[in-house]
Structures are given as structure tokens and as C-alpha cells.
């Protein structure tokens, strides 16, 4: 459904996307993960043919991009990182206007509007102005807008950033319905739980490069020890020096917390029993651990 080879994009002296290869299969939900500035949005803009790559080739829905980007975009719905609903129009009018951009006739769009409003849970808000909507409603409307022409593929750039948990769950619910309906989805996010929940496969992007790719479970299994014991409290430095080095397969100290990665958490916990001043949290390792291992813990902006 989507194939990109050797994508490269340079801004000034910085290579923002560096030889990226991506392949997304039909009906798949594919995640693009990466810290701020990793090049996620730039990659999506390249894939849509909005900007031209300095090198590389793209095929979107079987159509060469950017050469025939206009045709390719007919088959894609986009939820951009920043909401850009039309503030001069009501909720319903936003959908009607967007359908026209895809060349749909008035009757064809109008026929789809009730279904889309329903999907977005905005049926009662059809005539509301955009400024009256909450952040979650705006996001849902943007998602509905992206579906107006019934695209095969959806690009979602951080669909739930800035939303509260309730609103995020509503978006996820919508996305699951779309996945169930067989849509191909490409989604960027920095929420690991979002990626774990929704994606079949994902690529972790850092400095414009794919640093790991695979199914969420597979990535966790192949990149990291199965368990994490987070240790914090009085005397941590001392314990680290005497025990962590010996008991943990890998460990990291971040601020006041020691992250001890291990496949034998019981031995670590046993050892911690003899250090009552320390507190700990034992949990299975997750995608976030993989992400932090591969992209580091430094701030990016």
C-alpha cells in the first residue's frame, strides 16, 4: 500500500530524514514513533508529496509520489499534527467544504455527513462553530473530515497529543473501527501505549533514521530484557554500586531512579528485601523501555 525507499530530506545542513525505507501493507496499522524532531511529520509530508525528497522514491497506493501526488492524495485521508479546521464554517460545513476539495458533488458529500458526524460523536454539534468545540471534539472532527472521501489510507500525525484520557480512548475506539473496516493506517505518536494498543507494526525513528522496526511485542522481546525493576530511595547510589552491577543485565540511573533490566526479577527483588530503605516497582518491560533504550533519555528540543 505504501512503499518508500531511501528517502532523504535536508534542511540547511541538517539531514532531517536520512535514507528512510518504509513499507506498509494493505489493512495494516503502522506506527511511526520518534522523539520530538525525529522527522515524523517531515516523513508524512514527503509521503503525501507536499515536499520533494532530495533522494529516494515513494509509491503510495500504487502511485508514484511526488510525480503523481495529486492522484495519490485522492486515496489518502490526513489528520495533521495541528488542527486546521475551518473556523469560518460550522461543524457540518467543514465536512461539506472538505468533500468539495476532493471533487465530490454536493449530494454525495451531504449523504455522507450524518454517518461521519455519528462516527465522530458530533451529531448533536452539527451546527456548532469550531470555536465552541473542545480539543477532543476538534480532533474527532478532523478525523471525520479525513474520511469524507472514504480513503483507503489514513495518515494520522499525533492524533491524541494534548487530549485527556477520555478523549484519547474515544479516538482509539474510532481508529479501531477503521482498522476493523480494513483501512490502512499510518500513525505517528510518542505515546508508547497508543502504539502498543493500535499498531500491527511500527518503526522507531531517531534523527531521521529507522532504528528499529517490527511488531510491538517482537520489538520488546528482541531489544530488551523482559522485566524492569525501578528502584528509588535513600542509599540508591550505594546499592547500585554493590548490587545492581551484579544483578541487573543492564541498568540505568535517571535522576533519583534506577532502572534495572533483568530476565530474573526475583533475584533482584530478593536482594532488595535486604535494603529496606529502598522502594521499588516491578513491572514487565514495555515499548517505552525499548524506545528509551534506542533513542536515549536526552531532551530533544
Amino acid at each position: 500500500m505504501l512503499k518508500a525507499r531511501g528517502l532523504t530530506k535536508t534542511y540547511g545542513d541538517t539531514e532531517v530524514v536520512r535514507g528512510l525505507d518504509l513499507e506498509v501493507r494493505r489493512g495494516e496499522c503502522f506506527g511511526l514513533l520518534g522523539p520530538n524532531g525525529a522527522g515524523k511529520t517531515t516523513t508524512l509530508r514527503l509521503l503525501l508529496g507536499l515536499i520533494e525528497p532530495d533522494a529516494g522514491s515513494i509509491e503510495l497506493a500504487g502511485i508514484a509520489v511526488p510525480q503523481r501526488a495529486r492522484e495519490a492524495r485522492m486515496k489518502v485521508g490526513v489528520v495533521p499534527q495541528m488542527d486546521n479546521l475551518d473556523p469560518d464554517f460550522s461543524v457540518r460545513e467543514n465536512l461539506l467544504a472538505y468533500g468539495r476539495y476532493f471533487g465530490m458533488g454536493k449530494a454525495a458529500v451531504a449523504a455522507r455527513v450524518p454517518e461521519l458526524l455519528d462516527f465522530a460523536g458530533l451529531a448533536s454539534k452539527a451546527d456548532a462553530q469550531i470555536s465552541q468545540l473542545s480539543g477532543g471534539m476538534k480532533r474527532r472532527l478532523t478525523l471525520a473530515r479525513a474520511l469524507v472521501h472514504d480513503p483507503d489510507i489514513l495518515f494520522l500525525d499525533e492524533p491524541t497529543t494534548g487530549l485527556d484520557p477520555q478523549a484519547r480512548h474515544l479516538i482509539w475506539q474510532g481508529l479501531r473501527r477503521l482498522i476493523g473496516a480494513g483501512k490502512t493506517i499510518v500513525l505517528t505518536t510518542h505515546f508508547m501505549d497508543e502504539a502498543e494498543r493500535l499498531t500491527d507494526r511500527l518503526a522507531i525513528l531517531d534523527h531521521g533514521r529507522v532504528v528499529a522496526e517490527g511488531a510491538p511485542r517482537g520489538l520488546i522481546e528482541s531489544h530488551i530484557e523482559p522485566a524492569v525493576v525501578e528502584v528509588f530511595g535513600e542509599g540508591l547510589a550505594d546499592w547500585t554500586e554493590h548490587h545492581a552491577v551484579r544483578l541487573c543485565q543492564r541498568f540505568e540511573t535517571v535522576g533519583e531512579t534506577l532502572f534495572c533490566y533483568t530476565s530474573t526479577p526475583d533475584t533482584v527483588i530478593d536482594a532488595l528485601r535486604h535494603a529496606p530503605a529502598l522502594r521499588y516497582l516491578h513491572r514487565p518491560s514495555n515499548l517505552e523501555d525499548v524506545f528509551l533504550k534506542l533513542t536515549g533519555r536526552d531532551l530533544r528540543d
Binding site: I51, M82, D86, D88, A97, Y98, R100, Y101
Partner: protein, 261 residues
Amino acid sequence: MSHFFRLPRLSWRFVPVWQRNYLVWKKLAIPSILGNLADPMLYMLGLGYGLGSLLPNVGGMPYLTFLAAGTVAYSTMNAATFEVLYSSFSRMHVQRTWDAILNAPLTLDDVMLGELTWAASKSLLSGLAILAVIWGLGLYGNFWMTLWIVPVVALVGFCFGGMGLVMNALSPSYDFFLYYFTLVITPMVLLCGVFFPVSQLPAAVQGVSAWLPLTHAIDLARPLVVGTVPDNVALHVMALLIYGSLGYIIALALTRRRLLK
């Protein structure tokens, strides 16, 4: 820059962009029309009667007629300029409406053509309103000749819409537009024969004036009001077309650099 420069590829996809602006305008049409027209109308009638009563014939006609013919072009220029400066800028930069549209199968060429044709349409209305006053007050020489003012006004709107889009592409904020008004629009109003004949200006300044688009607009509009065939029609039409098209082409390249780099 060369990378962004490409001749526009025109397509009918611009129509929904025009339509979007039209539908938004329609919601507030009455106040918008009144707001846009009151100003030129007041100037024209105030100066025309007030100053006109003190003046003999100006350019071979009553001052009110002289001024009305200038105001048709001036008012159209202003309407087109305001639209592509403030309104287009808000759609491009503030509301990010263009970004949303570009995710659909439209190119920037389409979006900006939609904006340009919309600016021309909206300014057409401004020109027509002044024309209506000319009709109402019987300021014309030959009614049928004045009908030619309609396409002239559309062309003037296209010309200044295209030019204004260049400013839109370059501007970091609304404040920047003031320079355009102070350095381009206002001097043009004074040099191109809106309020007084260009022949009153020093010869060197007249030479400059002959190159300015508003001069070409007025050289077409004024004879048509009086009821004579304008001289050098082809020259004036070409000049307006070239200013407008060059503006659009340059603006497109600059906006590509701004939005699609």
C-alpha cells in the same frame, strides 16, 4: 529559489477554493458590502461635490465625473488588495486553511488561483457598486459604453490580486502590509490620476506614472465613463494582465518556498 520556480499548472480544482471563500463571505455579505463600499463612496461624493463645486472642468469633464471614473479603478484596487493581503494571509498563516486544503488533491497553484479569482470577484463587486452610483447619478456619457467597465474592473481586480499575493507570500505578520500600502498603493493613488489628471505632474513623474498599473486601469475606465473609446486598449489590457500574471507566478514561487519547503 530556482527549485521553487515553476510555471503554474492551472486546473479546475481551484473552484472549490473560490467557493469556500464565497460561502464564508455570503454569511456576512450585507455588512461586508456596506463596510467595503461606504469609504470610497463617501470620498467620491464628498470630494466630488465639495471640491467639485470650486473647480472648473477637470480633464474636460465635471470633477465629480472625473473622480467617479478614478474611483471605480481605485476602489477595485483597494478591495482586491485588502482581500489578498489581510484575508488571504489569515487563511494561509493564521487559520492554516491552506494547509488543510493542500492535504486534498489540490496544489498550491490551485489554492492561490482560487484566492486570486476570489479577490477579483470580490473587488468586481466594489467596482460595480461605484458603477451603480455612476449610473444612478447619470455621470456617464453613453450607457452601453459603461458596460465595458465590468470586464475592466474584473481585470483590475485580477491585476492587484496577483500583485498583492506577492506581499502575502513575503509577509511575516499583518503589520508588514502597512509598508505595501504606504510604499505602493498610496503613491499609486496619487500618481495615477485618481484625484487629478496625471498631466498636472512634472514630466519625469508622468514617465513613472505611465508604468504603473493603476494608470492603465484608469486610462481604460475614464473614457468608458465619459463615453469614448479608450486609446491604446491593447496596451492597457496587456499591462494589467502582465502585472497580475507576473504577480501570481512570483507569489506562487515565494509561497512554495514558504509553505512547501
